[in-house]
Symmetry: C2
Subunit: 277 residues, 2 copies
């Protein structure tokens, strides 16, 4: 399926960026940014040049989770991304630090987002992860309609309430003809740190079931782990940890599953010619 | 502080509705709708005429959590709310059921919201709870600027990431001169159903600390309880349960604390005259 259907605006590629991957969710608070941050760090650890754009303008949590608060420099009229843990970062949180909310309306946001994506000196990137705002609102929609996405990941918890909204997000991506790389079930279950028994805090398994029902891939189930949350709060994502630790390995597996899906889906820039020997 | 400052649009009262209470959050997924639904049910259980407007147009979860999916009737050109558990309900989820996302832009949403608030035959209500969309975006802002709110409740989890966004929400309400009734810390901690030990899944105590720092009231801490989530998923909020159960009692206490704060804050329609004997 071509991303440029008749009547659609052409989607200019972002020079130097090979694959744009959107991470979205129907509902907020399901761990979309946690997944984005750890996926980006894991891709970098696997040796890929990776960027992360925090497009959640109202609640940009990437600076906190990646432990950086710097004001980006502008060189040759281009915003320089901030590198942390091998990932090129950009976030509205760098430009609007502190507690004041950004009370911006639709059109202003739209141009800010375009500036963010196209005005940043990303350099050569294999993967640029875009952490979308939650939901199926204005900003998310404008964004996915104006950049050539390779595909999208939908994050949900296993609760029915979250799944209800995740299905909406899958429909939104389909409506604008973005490939779904897969669904990630986050906060799948908790292993009690005292008794090691499992607690299905938000129910369990609904992510895989929903993926099957909707005919999309299921990428990963990630347990609810206080260490993952603490990694986010302390600015040191767990994907940086020892790859023998299960919560670190989970994100490395997610990165590998994502790369495999991208290989299946291909580039959004058109068909490639393969020469067989 | 008067809600109508010079230069602001006048905010027409909603006929028959005494107190409008917004429930907001900086971040999604912190349990804003769970708190709204259970607060509304608890207020009704305490004998108050209560309504609940689900203003989260992109992810309207109130129908699922309250177990109703009916299409509202229109009588005398006014939308009739749906009564469930003694609460008058209205939600975009009633008008747009199923999985299709509502891909609406700002201005369309603004008029839909006005229609929702002012075109509904609410009847006589002591409390109308408005479950805002998460964040500090367009819809939330338009809404709180056009109705005379008695005050707002800000829901957060104790994680730093959620608190960062909760502070933004408090600033947003202050910027548009809405009284903060208080902060609710949701998912405060989990009591393991196997070993009864406590797990601070999302950290603990940040809600109260943030309330103190910002000079706002702290209304309640509500544990992360799989029964509360299951109540939402099954359409039977836990606030309907036995008031000796701690998770039911928690919401009844929240309702009482909210009523007490409303008595302190007073009506947004102007000062009341108290006659002392």
């Amino acid at each position: 399926m071509s991303p440029n259907q008749p009547g659609e605006q052409p989607k200019d590629p972002i020079p130097g960026v090979r694959h744009l991957i959107a991470v979205g969710s129907g509902k907020g608070g399901v761990g979309k940014t946690t997944v984005s941050v750890n996926l980006a760090v894991a891709l970098a650890r696997l040796g890929h040049k990776t960027g992360l754009l925090d497009a959640d303008v109202y609640g940009p949590n990437v600076p906190l989770m990646m432990g950086r608060r710097d004001m980006p420099e502008v060189r040759h009229e281009r915003i320089q991304p901030i590198e942390q843990f091998g990932v090129q970062l950009m976030s509205m949180g760098f430009l609007n630090p502190g507690d004041k909310p950004l009370i911006w309306r639709g059109p202003m946001l739209h141009s800010a987002m375009q500036q963010f994506i196209r005005g940043v000196d990303w350099g050569e990137l294999e993967y640029l992860i875009i952490d979308l705002p939650p939901g199926t609102g204005d900003v998310a929609l404008s964004l996915i309609q104006t950049v050539p996405l390779t595909g999208a990941i939908v994050v949900t918890t296993p609760s029915d309430v979250s799944l209800e909204d995740a299905r909406k997000a899958v429909h939104m991506f389909r409506q604008v003809r973005v490939e779904i790389l897969g669904i990630v079930e986050n906060m799948s279950y908790l292993v009690c740190p005292h008794c090691d028994k499992r607690v299905d805090v938000f129910s369990y398994g609904g992510g895989r079931r929903t993926a099957d029902e909707m005919g999309v891939n299921f990428l990963a189930e990630l347990p609810l782990n206080p260490l993952v949350r603490a990694g986010g709060d302390s600015g040191r994502p767990v994907a940086l940890g020892n790859n023998k630790d299960i919560h670190t390995a989970d994100f490395l597996h997610l990165a590998e599953a994502t790369i495999a899906r991208i290989a299946e889906v291909g580039s959004p820039k058109g068909p490639t010619i393969e020469v067989e020997e």
